[in-house]
Each structure stands twice: as C-alpha cells, then as structure tokens.
Symmetry: C2
Subunit: 142 residues, 2 copies
DNA sequence: CTAATCCTTGACCCCGACGTCAAGGAAAGA
DNA sequence: TCTTTCCTTGACGTCGGGGTCAAGGATTAG
C-alpha cells in the first residue's frame, strides 16, 4: 500500500506520515520507483500512534508503544516501557487537573467577589442619600 | 521609572514589557532621551496582567482588565467585559477539566488492563504445564 | 499523446509568549 | 576618559504537529 492509501485508511494525511517518518517513528520501505510502501502492520502501528495522540500523548511518548508492537508483542502496552509512560501520564494528568481545579476555584472566587462589588455599587446608586462607601471595607489600595 | 526597574519590580523581563507594548497592551511614555518611562499605575497594570497570565489567561484576555483599570475603575474586574472573560474562562476550565478527567479514566483503564495481562502471563510462566492461552479470552486480534 | 492523479523532496508558514543576539546610543561611577 | 551598565530597535530562534505550496518524476485512463 502506498502513502495515500495508508493515510486515508488511518484518517490522517500524507504529510503526517512523512513527518512521522522524519521523526523515525514510522519508517517506510520503498518500492522500485522510490514510492513509500506500507503493509497492514504499519497501519496497526499508525493507529496506535493516533490513539495515543488523541489522548494527548506527544509523539515521543508514543514511541515505546510503537517499538513494543514492532518487537512482536500482541499490544503496544505489553511492554514495561509503555506501562511506565502510562504511569507518568497519569501523574501528569493528576497534577494538571489539580492545578486547573485550583485555578478554577480562584477564578470563581474572583468572579463572585467582583459581582458582589458591583451589586453593592448598584444598591448604593438606588438609594442616592443612602450608604456612603465605608472606608477599608472592600477597597484594595492603589 | 525605566523599563529595567519596572521589570524587576514585577518579576519579569524587559523583553516581556516591550512585547506587551508592541501588542498595545502596555504603552509607555518616553523621556527626553527616548527611554521608556513608567509610573506606579503601570506597575499596577502589569501586575494585573501577570496575575491573569499565571491563571492561564492569554494576553488578549487580559486586555479588558487592563483597560478597566486604565479607565479609572478601582479593580481590573470592575467592568462587565472583565466579568465576561471570567465567565468564559470558567466554562473553558470546566470543559478542559472534564476532558482531562475522561482521558485520565481511559488511561487508568488501559494501564489496569495491560498490568493484569502481564500478571496473567507471569502466572502462566510459573506453572509450565499449566493453563494454555485460551483463545478469544483477552486477545484483540491482529 | 495528453491529461489527470499520485508520488518525491525541499522549504517556508502557523500559533503564543517570549528568549537571545547584534549594533549602537546614553548615563553613571572611578 | 574609560568602563560598565542600561537603554534603543530589529530580527531571528524556540516548541509541536503538522499545513501549504512548488517543481518535477511516475503511473494510469482515455
């Protein structure tokens, strides 16, 4: 199978396949006319790469899985190196999710604070002779 | 205050300040010799930008906050446009955290599956005359 | 024969937020 | 005066994962 067909069957582009080859991730045999030649095994490797990419793994992280398959193992994650990548990824995800949750909490806090400040101002505008802005109750200094 | 001092006081670099100016985010007055000249107000704007950047806001998203402060409001989030950015950010964060949690779950699942597969193989190796690999019990076909 | 696809390599473009280097002017201390 | 340090602008590099030409060779359909 040539590059166009493999790309189509994997739902990707020829550019992507050449890029993978340039990275040494998915080298191709060549037929007599210089065209790249792939087989079903290559399709399998490619699908492994794409699946992990969809999970947010970067290209280098997919390498152990690809090499594992190429070594004849039944699955890309049949090798210890692949499992190590899984574990590292889980740690990264946990850390990232934790950070994002913390940011989310802070932003939510800021929004609530800013909204209530606006409500206060609106209420004061409603009652013109009403409450004067009391010092040091909500103003961060200049 | 000149660019180096402002950068130092905000814990950033002169390159960053020139970049912000080029983006129209933090324009600078100029003193007679052509040097950029900043005041305490600029430091405040800069700190607002940096705080939001630390939260993962991109530069354009900080613009409403900066303009709000420059318009004389007490806080960068005293304006509706800033609140809108907060809300949009919360939605983005929720979506992202959700996606990451889903990926985390899938990766965790894959890891568990791959680990148990390895344990099975190890157990079979322990008992040489033991269980033959039973077809269609765990093998995704080639 | 010619046109239409497919293939090849090479090379530049994109995004965001700067880092880094270069060439030269200005200010400040010894 | 000399040296060091700070300032100016301009321009290119970085990173990841490719997109998008361009020029030319191979193959196939009509």
């Amino acid at each position: 199978m040539r590059i166009g067909e493999l790309a189509a069957r994997a739902g990707t582009t020829t550019r992507t396949l050449r890029y993978y080859e340039a990275r040494g991730l998915l080298p191709a045999r060549r037929s007599g006319n210089g065209y790249r030649s792939y087989d079903e095994g290559d399709l399998r490797l490619l699908r492994q790469i794409r699946t992990l990419q969809d999970f947010g793994f970067d290209l280098e992280e997919t390498r152990p899985f690809v090499e594992c398959l190429r070594a004849g193992h039944p699955e890309g994650d049949s090798c210890p190196a692949s499992l190590a990548v899984y574990r590292r990824k889980l740690d990264e995800l946990d850390a990232l999710i934790g950070e994002l949750a913390a940011v989310r909490a802070k932003v939510g806090e800021q929004l609530a604070r800013a909204e209530s400040a606006r409500e206060r101002l609106a209420a004061e505008a409603e009652v013109p002779g009403g409450p004067e802005p009391e010092c040091e109750l909500g103003g961060a200094g200049l």
